[in-house]
Amino acid sequence: MARVLVQEAAFDMGAETAALTAGRTDVGGVASFLGVCRGDDGLAAMVLEHYPGMTERAIARIAEQAEARWPLTGCTVIHRVGRILPGEPIVLVLTASAHRAAALEACAFLIDWLKTRAPFWKREEFAGGTHRWVEARAEDEAAAARWAGA
């Protein structure tokens, strides 16, 4: 059962990682991906919107798929919403397993699927007050699609 959180607040990656190994000795590795807000082209902030209810359920289902596909001992997905500044974390994916390959693959799977299947929308705010909705990228679709064939 994955730990899934959608929240405005920052998260503590060290504490979240420690929680996946605390009190157990069957974990051989924890893979993780921390997505961070880049400050390209004078970006002042990223504003993330989600669909309360559906977003949490969509992430939980993606995590269930990962848990069905790889022998995970734990899985955590935390995705922030609201206004995020360049350099700040946006998303954290953690996967724990007895074996490293399972953890590493499940982590890559989860972040690829989050990018294309979880209802979040990003709006970029620039210095000067202009803003722009981020468009979906074909390469994110391609990255997610590679997990369907295997």
Partner: protein, 83 residues
């Protein structure tokens, strides 16, 4: 029927949520889009490019042929950009 809009669809329609009562011949997501688009110039603008519109019925992704009924929650939004 409860209709939700997210991201730029919300901005174009001018509301995040509305209660609607489409006629009986609106049976699926595609039919609902056509009916909503005729409600106002703002709705027409939001649905102008159907390739950029995604839908969910009762919080599950849905294609244009997915049925819709009176008590459904139907959401419209652009392709997702999380992660």
């Amino acid at each position: 029927m409860r209709v939700l809009y997210f991201a730029w669809l919300r901005q174009k329609v001018g509301t995040a949520e509305e209660e609607v009562a489409p006629p009986a011949d609106v049976r699926d997501v595609g039919g609902l889009i056509r009916w909503l688009a005729a409600r106002s110039p703002a709705h027409a603008a939001a649905f102008a490019d159907p390739r950029q519109v995604r839908a969910a019925v009762n919080q599950d992704f849905a294609t244009p042929d997915h049925p819709v009924a009176a008590n459904d929650e139907v959401a419209f939004f652009p392709p997702v950009t999380g992660g």
